[in-house]
Symmetry: C2
Subunit: 230 residues, 2 copies
Amino acid sequence: MSETGVKLFGKLESPFVLRVELALKLKGVEYEYVYGPLPDVIARELKNNIVNEKDPVLIHDGKPIAESLVIIEYIDEIWKGTGRSILPTDPYERAVARFLAKYADDKLMADIIGVYLKVGKEQKKSLELMKTKQRVFGNALKGKKFFGGDCIGYLDIVLGIIPYWIQAIKQVSDVKEDEVEDDVDVAHLRVWSRNFLSLEFVKDKLPPFEKLIEMLKKAKGNINIQAVCH
Amino acid sequence: MSETGVKLFGKLESPFVLRVELALKLKGVEYEYVYGPLPDVIARELKNNIVNEKDPVLIHDGKPIAESLVIIEYIDEIWKGTGRSILPTDPYERAVARFLAKYADDKLMADIIGVYLKVGKEQKKSLELMKTKQRVFGNALKGKKFFGGDCIGYLDIVLGIIPYWIQAIKQVSDVKEDEVEDDVDVAHLRVWSRNFLSLEFVKDKLPPFEKLIEMLKKAKGNINIQAVCH
């Protein structure tokens, strides 16, 4: 692994891989995107050191980094002089952003998967929990166009694709449409989501909606929370 | 919450609270430690914004921050000019440290709790998983006195108290002593742990071993993984 340059390994449909791609694009970093499994030599090294063999994995100058949130911070630090900072520059705002990103991955993702995989009462419970968490993100956004302010930043690329996934999951789950309607007090989250998903540089990278639904239908039954959150 | 200064809320026995105390001490920050539950006014604000009402919570100049790893990064950034950096200064080393800290909290803690709460085959499985993860941390330490090098750093304060907890958990679980013996290839982790726990500024802050065992005995049955990892 002595090759120079930047390589990103991961599946096209993964929201975690997309986060990293958007971070690289925000910083204007040239990279090679490699679809599919990691080469054996890299997988072995990861197993002994940074453990995670799941995507996304970024290789920079021959060194591997795993976990999407860790990779985004790395990109922001290593290309500090290039473009705007991805994370907020104020230490308190950074702390809140880090907290909310972790909250999304640790808690919100589990509820989304619950809506996707569970049925009946358990599914309704996941739906309610998901809505509670949406209100928290709604509070963090209030009064701003993007989480990053007028321009997109860390929380936008971390959270931005989630509503797109939720829409797809609604279609493959058996929840009724009137049950999934967002609360009025997070209506501004819908506006944010529309603004984010209509940005050219995001649109270019979104997996086609029909492909996502097809993939989710196929995966149902073979997926669990641990396999999705990384 | 307009008060100035630094306050730390949390339980004395929590390894997550201790991490934050050690970070404050490393930076030489004066703080007030408040044992026990959060005041109502702060708990309400957290619920609407940064969500987590569990300890540790740090209040700095009236603003709350939750999650031990997030708080440590905040301390390192806000008191940048004071003392040594807690996180490694090299971006790649920072990324690896962040990955391993997350790995400890997301994966290792679950295995430790498994050894504590499970019995029979399930417990043995947790024990094996715990040992696998110890080898990963052993690889990261190899050749160094502390994870931070000659002096302690981020991963030392994040991981340092874990072996102390494991020792206590072994005593309240029913695993046999020969089953819990560490592998020869992580013997250097034992040396690191001894070095870390014998540092005066750590020793001062450790909950007395007998108190910890007493607390663990009482809590058994009322505890679950989610309640412990934060």
